[in-house]
């Protein structure tokens, strides 16, 4: 039965017997050379050497890290309404291939996820997917920034994060009430910090490059102003605030100050903001257009340092699929965003290994710390983030930090191709991914 899928159905998963052999376990307790055995959806043994019983599937992890599955708290899966660029199914497959066992689907869909019925629809789609799909709800009805969305009703279905991502909640009074209300529910408000008036008409970072290229800019101050405002409102209300895709050094400084003060504020950065700068747009390729925009080398350095210092809590992809036709447009017309689930690990690894970051620290940023923010961590009764120990839910990834591969957009599992790393050789790849005890990715291939 080795290598044969024994998956029989969604609602009644058949237990697998898997031995992950030859790897280095990396989790919140550290690193150690160990084999890992999985049965019935759980890790059952972590020992220096485990013999595979007859009928068990052996996954080779030689030279690899065996870690809790990665968790992406910021991915656009485009359902409902945007199925031509991605679906929950294809996005989840892309995630699993990237080593992710959980993603949080962003609510700026069409219609937006601002009611329990749409939450239920997306959760149903996610129940068949090869990774865990959680849903973020909007903070305001229709993402219009005027009335609070029915957070309690959505929370009853398991929603833990609410955001108008794609835009900030511009009205400070509305955001204040959203944070207060969220506090009562124990949920998190996440904000896309860019002051709309300052970024209006802008398509790339405002700076030397935008001036040279004649492309209207989005100043860093637009992000910092809202980061500062949102932190003040978090202080005022005691609500839990998560800052999405921070991109400037000053934003990091503001976050650091908020953390020192003990405010309930967390922050994430994307792999692309850890590795690319605004100079990338010199060739006028809209693959590099994203909001908030790619910034300067100084900002990239500050974001990397913040990951190393632990000021930033999570690396999140902001996976944003767009059709090739949409991205072929002039910079000023193309939609912003890049896919990133399948390239996140190698890009983050390269960006941070120069800083000498230990594997456990990198995996912390990509697995258990985001799991905590999303409310799905094993620490609070969820099934994500580890540790890799007997009794833990078997949501694992086997990561080869030395595998070289060329990014061929047409071969990615995402329905879309808009990656800024097209044609690049990346180092680092998920070799296997195990989701709830099922090997959904084996040797870099999705099993379904």
């Amino acid at each position: 039965m080795e290598g044969e899928s024994r998956w029989s159905g969604v609602t009644d998963p058949h237990p697998f017997d898997i031995v992950i052999r030859g790897g280095t376990v990396v989790d919140a307790t550290g690193e150690r050379r160990a084999d890992v055995a999985v049965s019935g959806g759980s890790v059952v043994a972590v020992e220096p050497s485990i013999d595979a019983p007859a009928g068990a599937q052996v996954l080779d992890a030689d030279g690899c890290w065996v870690a809790p599955g990665l968790v992406d708290i910021h991915a656009h899966l485009r359902q409902p309404g945007g199925e031509e660029s991605e679906s929950v199914e294809t996005g989840a497959r892309a995630a699993a291939l990237g080593g992710y066992t959980a993603v949080v689907a962003m609510p700026n869909t069409d219609p937006p996820i601002d009611s329990p019925s749409i939450v239920a629809e997306v959760l149903a789609l996610g129940s068949k997917a090869i990774c865990r799909v959680d849903v973020a709800g909007t903070a305001t009805v229709g993402r219009r920034g005027e009335r609070l969305a029915p957070m309690a009703e959505m929370a009853r279905l398991g929603v833990r994060m609410f955001t108008d991502d794609g835009a900030a909640v511009a009205d400070s009074g509305v955001l204040r009430r959203a944070l207060e209300y969220a506090r009562g529910l124990g949920v998190t408000i996440a904000e896309h910090c860019e002051d709309p008036a300052l970024v209006e008409g802008g398509h790339m970072n405002e700076g030397a490059w935008s001036s040279r290229l004649g492309i209207p800019g989005r100043p860093a101050a637009a992000e910092e102003i809202l980061v500062a405002r949102d932190i003040e409102l978090a202080r005022l209300t005691g609500g839990r605030l998560h800052l999405l895709h921070l991109s400037t050094s000053r934003s990091i400084a503001l976050l650091a100050a908020a953390r020192r003060e003990g405010l309930a504020v967390t922050g994430e950065v994307t792999p692309h903001h850890l590795s690319l700068t605004d100079e990338s747009l010199a060739g006028f390729d809209a693959a590099f257009k994203v909001f908030p925009p790619l910034r300067t080398a100084d900002d990239v350095a500050a974001l990397r340092a913040a990951c190393v210092d632990g000021i930033v809590d999570a690396i999140a992809t902001d996976h944003a699929p767009h059709s090739a036709e949409a991205k072929d447009a002039p910079i000023e017309q193309a939609p912003p965003g890049m896919i990133g689930l399948e390239t996140a690990f190698p890009v983050a690894l390269e960006a941070l290994s120069a800083e000498g970051l230990a594997p456990a620290r990198l995996i912390a940023l990509m697995s258990w710390r985001p799991a905590r923010i999303a409310g799905i961590s094993t620490e609070i009764g969820g099934d994500q983030g580890g540790p890799v120990a007997p009794g833990s839910p078997a949501n694992l990834c086997v990561l080869d930090a030395t595998a070289n591969w060329v990014v061929e957009p047409a071969k990615l599992a995402s329905r879309s191709r808009n990656t800024p790393f097209a044609g690049c050789t990346l180092t680092g790849r998920a070799r296997h991914t195990i989701f709830r005890g099922e090997p959904v990715v084996v040797d870099g291939e999705a099993m379904r």
Binding site: E206, G207, A208, S210, S211, R212, L213, G214, I215, P216, G217, P219, G283, F284, D285, E325, D328, A329, P330, I331, E332, Q333
Partner: protein, 403 residues
């Protein structure tokens, strides 16, 4: 008609042998009209078997590497290499540098002479197809390019699209590829968004000329401006423009006045003038300057009266009234008061100072009518020189061997 080639200084690819040059130093050899029998060199009016009586036989081909062709015949010479070393496109002024700019100006000298003939036409690009792909309306620039193309005997296709249709109907890429499939050698592209000519150059295999992309660049406008400045200074010094090299620009004090932030002409102008060693001052309210001037060698002033006495060339930018008033400046009136070249200000200009403008003019806003119509104004010369310069650009890119 000029006589046969006269030995002289070669302009063009270094190392190429001199085959002949006219008295003004422009090397040229007889260029056979493509697909026809060879023409006799140096025989004015001698047409190749197929050439129509309307076209002149001669065409300038500086940098021609035809060491073999003697001055007396073009033999079976096909179109010869122009020796153009600056790429197959003209997208940015920075593709050219000072040398490239001067080469184009020298080429343009020759085509300016062609423009003065009774039949201002040469067969140099006969059989080539040039498309003007204008997504932003600009009749003047488009006509200038089309005139240039026709004077070179190229076939011209015109594609204009209202800006709003881009992205809603056929995609930009499909439009470019469809046109290219009809068989074009060059596309002249204008678009209200920056970077479109670069994108088009990636999608199709043809020479691309940037006719203006958003706020970014407008290289041919600026080349025409440089040509005009050189012509003016030559006239003033009683010399031939063709004899003047880049030193004509060195230390020339140019003020670029107005909405620099939104001006592709300003961006290209700064790049060109920096490359040529001119002294550039930007005069604008801070709201009309780019957020960063990194890489530009410029001085900045927010007061036109302050800088006026020390300026040789006033380059006035059009105020984008649709956008500017109330937003970047409180009102047109205030703009004119502070930055307009009013009649009052014009009175205090030094004797030799001149005024340029890329057009179209906002009379009474950035420039007073009297100033626009005065002898200081080079505006009409800028327009006239545009055709010669565009002929030079098209010839430089396409005048070589057919692929």
């Amino acid at each position: 008609m000029t006589g046969g080639p006269v030995a002289g200084t070669r302009v063009g690819a270094p190392g190429a042998e001199t085959t002949g040059a006219d008295a003004r130093g422009t090397a040229f050899v007889e260029v056979d009209a493509p697909g026809t029998a060879s023409a006799e060199a140096g025989a004015p009016g001698a047409a190749s078997a197929k050439a129509s009586p309307e076209t002149s036989v001669e065409a300038g081909a500086p940098g021609a590497a035809s060491a073999k062709a003697s001055p007396e015949t073009s033999a079976e010479a096909p179109l010869l290499e122009t020796g153009w070393r600056y790429g197959r496109h003209l997208l940015s002024i920075s593709d050219l540098g000072a040398e490239g700019i001067m080469e184009l100006l020298h080429l343009a000298d020759h085509f300016a002479e062609v423009g003065r003939r009774p039949i201002p036409k040469v067969p140099a690009l006969r059989g080539r197809t040039i498309v003007t792909l204008f997504f932003e309306s600009s009749t003047r620039t488009r006509l200038s390019f089309e005139t240039a193309a026709r004077r070179l005997s190229a076939d011209v296709l015109t594609f204009t699209a209202a800006t709003s249709s881009v992205g809603k109907g056929e995609s930009l890429r499909d439009t470019a590829q469809t046109l290219h499939a009809m068989g074009v050698d060059a596309m002249v592209v204008r678009h209200s968004n920056a970077g479109v000519p670069w994108q088009v150059s990636r999608w199709i295999d043809a020479s691309i000329v940037n006719a203006g992309d958003g706020w970014h660049e407008h290289p041919t406008q600026v080349l025409s401006d440089c040509f005009t400045i050189r012509e003016l200074i030559a006239q003033r010094d009683g010399r031939q423009a063709e004899d003047l090299g880049p030193e004509v620009f060195k230390g020339l004090r140019v003020a670029i006045v107005g909405d620099v932030l939104h001006s592709r002409v300003a961006r290209s102008e700064v790049l060109a003038l920096n490359a040529l060693g001119a002294d550039v001052t930007l005069v604008s309210p801070p709201t009309m300057l780019p957020s960063s001037l990194e890489g530009w060698e410029v001085s900045v002033s927010h007061d036109l009266d302050d800088v006026m006495p020390n300026i040789d060339v006033f380059y006035l930018l059009r105020l984008q009234t649709e956008r500017g008033a109330g937003r970047d400046v409180p009102s047109l009136h205030e703009y004119t008061e502070k930055f307009g070249l009013t009649a009052r200000r014009a009175e205090s200009l030094s004797g030799h100072a001149v005024v340029m403008h890329p057009g179209p003019l906002n009379r009474g806003v950035e420039i007073a009518s009297e100033v626009a119509d005065s002898t200081r104004s080079l505006v009409l010369r800028q327009v006239a020189n545009g055709v010669s310069v565009r002929m030079a650009v098209l010839f430089a890119l396409l005048g070589g061997r057919r692929h």
